[in-house]
């Protein structure tokens, strides 16, 4: 399959992730949508590393996976801390810092 297939599929997945981040209210599902966006970029990098015969795309994908793992761990810890004090899973209700 040509490189336009990679571009179109990863653009679709990225936009689905962006929609999910904007329309969902559960913070866990919002995190999953962020994972979708990161994964689509990974797919783009790996596909282009195949087409351009270079290893840099795969190394970049590896770095993105590291950042994503760190981000998920810290984000889930924050969600857990918020849930322990509020017992509520809706991002619209977390407005204590709002002035």
């Amino acid at each position: 399959m040509g490189h336009q297939f990679v571009l179109l599929i990863s653009a679709c997945i990225f936009c689905i992730g962006a929609v999910g981040f904007l329309i969902r209210k559960n913070p866990l599902v919002m995190f999953m949508s962020v994972e979708l966006m990161l994964n689509s970029v990974n797919f783009l990098l790996v596909g282009y590393s195949h087409f351009l015969k270079s290893m840099d795309g795969q190394i970049f994908a590896l770095m993105i996976m590291t950042v994503a793992a760190a981000e998920v761990v810290v984000g889930l810890a924050i969600i857990l801390t918020i849930f322990r004090t509020r017992h509520d899973m809706d991002v619209d209700h977390i407005n204590t810092l709002k002035g």
């Binding site: 790996v46 596909g47 590896l62 004090t85």
Partner: protein, 184 residues
């Protein structure tokens, strides 16, 4: 030219099918009301992406995808859902949601345009399939590149993981008590 390459045709069909399955699974992630189903769809999506990585000759990245994402990260998600209780989310249409969908649809149109119209001159590197096979597989080729040209970013990634580990220890151990005191 009546004869065609059956291997290439099969590979293209499988790539197309797996790519479409990945897109459908990501739709399932954002459309399911219950977070546990979202997590299961996300696992399916990640396995599809690992298959696509395999089809694009990136065996090492596919293995890392399965181990790190479908293994570690999604198990973490499932444990958090089990801990917090996966309550169903009421999804009703509203003005903000339609605006969000419209905004992202515009973005998707722009991405499609830029993907199909423009053409750039590719700068090719030295790692085609034969060279990678000669070196000894994609893991060894990635290692050779990672530990020579990308050594600084590798060390920075290790520092990032250390900072994340220290951060979640601080979050889960120290931040709870002051918050409780403030709530009284």
């Amino acid at each position: 030219m009546l004869e065609f390459d059956l291997f290439e045709l099969t590979k293209a069909t499988v790539t197309l099918l797996v790519g479409l399955t990945a897109v459908l699974a990501s739709l399932g992630v954002i459309l399911c009301s219950s977070p546990i189903y979202c997590a299961l769809y996300l696992i399916g999506h990640m396995i599809c992406l690992a298959l696509l990585f395999l089809l694009y000759n990136a065996e090492f990245i596919a293995a890392v995808q399965i181990i790190v994402y479908a293994g570690a990260v999604m198990i973490l998600f499932l444990f958090i859902i089990a801990l917090l209780g996966g309550k169903k989310e009421v999804q009703e249409p509203s003005l903000e949601r339609s605006l969000a969908v419209l905004f992202v649809a515009t973005m998707l149109g722009e991405l499609f345009l830029s993907a199909t119209v423009g053409s750039t001159k590719p700068i090719e590197g030295g790692f085609d399939v034969e060279t990678v096979a000669e070196v000894g597989g994609s893991a060894k080729a990635i290692g050779l590149e990672l530990f020579s040209r990308h050594l600084v970013s590798f060390e920075l990634a290790s520092v990032l993981l250390l900072v994340a580990a220290i951060g979640i220890i601080c979050l889960s151990k120290f931040s709870y008590i002051p918050v409780r005191r403030r709530m009284k």
